[in-house]
Amino acid sequence: MSNSEPDVTRESATVLNRTDLTRRLVARLKSEEAVIGGIGFTNFDLWASGQRPQNFYMLGSMGLATSIALGVAVAQPQRKVFALDGDGSALMQLGSFATVAAVAPKNLAVVIWDNGAYHITGAQETLTVKGADLVAIAKGAGLKQAYWAADAGHFETLVQRALINDGPWLIAAKIDKERPAGVTERDPVKIRLNFMNAIAPGS
């Protein structure tokens, strides 16, 4: 692992785009990695990125993308698992960072889209705008491999490192307030069955 990680802060991070980054991430998934898409626009862009069967879309349980992903990761240590979540959602369940750090699953990466807003409910400001730094919080919770993406290329580098090297990882990207590229089909049982079939042990 390189020690030459650039020193990126929320301030210095380039403003990126969730639709673009979700597609870049998904394009790198070659081994049936599981992806949990959090409530808000996060799961919409995951849906719009191609509806991989190994995706799980949250339509509620705000804040729990990381916890659900942790459960998947613990149950299937051989499979890489990504949790994607918005900053508003992550702020709601900060203890889950400490839980992940304590369990220390090698196969888990948490990706946070920080648009400084509860975008889907009307783009009200979140606490990250007032100075809460989710990478610093994650580090304080014990997640040593927590990084801001400097730009889109660096985001891909971090994702690639998470795919190859042991986690847990937390990758945060500062993003704009573009609307997502699609809308998730809201059929919970279908979502669960597709996901379960796709990640069934031995499948």
Binding site: G60, S61, L64, G71, V74, A75, I199
Partner: protein, 174 residues
């Protein structure tokens, strides 16, 4: 059972029935009544044990693990149950994920804190309005049948369920 046979404790029965139902993941936020059960589970290599910061996480983790093929249970106190309504209503119930919670009932039959007893009164109306299977174990003789029945029904019907441990089981001196 004869007097000279050492009777299994309720905790030992629970552990035996969890194993019988292949429940190998236990998440919990502690409670005094659950202390011995937690101690035995943590000492047993059969179980993967996760102690998250909040009960909501405990439910989320069990839900994720279930979808990935590992059965789990979330242990908590009544006040913890009051914090998981949203995840049960918006994840476990609509997605039909059989998250089983085991809740030690505090707030009744000798409670000394008014707030605890008020929180306790919210549990059954919530379970009823969610249409969730629940049963309060009051007697040592019921432990095996109820825990086994609640677990197997949850997994065969893809329905979340709550096993309540009444003070009649956990506090009463027989």
């Amino acid at each position: 059972m004869s007097n000279n046979t050492q009777r299994e404790t309720w905790e030992e029965i629970v552990i035996r029935v969890l194993k019988k139902n292949k429940v190998s993941l236990v998440t919990y936020v502690p409670d005094n009544v659950l202390a011995q059960l937690i101690k035995l589970i943590e000492a047993d290599p059969y179980f993967t044990v996760i102690a998250p910061a909040r009960e909501e996480e405990a439910v989320g983790i069990v839900a994720g693990a279930y979808m990935a093929g590992k059965r789990g249970i979330a242990l908590m106190q009544t006040s913890g149950f009051a914090t998981v309504v949203n995840v049960l209503a918006s994840l476990a119930c609509p997605y039909q994920i059989p998250v089983v919670a085991m809740v030690s009932e505090r707030g009744t039959l000798g409670e000394f804190q008014l707030g605890q007893s008020i929180v306790c009164r919210t549990m059954r109306p919530v379970l009823t309005s969610l249409g969730m299977e629940h049963f309060a174990i009051q007697d040592h003789d019921q432990v095996e049948f109820v825990v086994d029945g609640m677990l197997s029904q949850a997994f065969t019907t893809q329905a979340p369920a709550t096993i309540i441990l009444s003070p009649l089981l956990t506090k009463r001196k027989v």
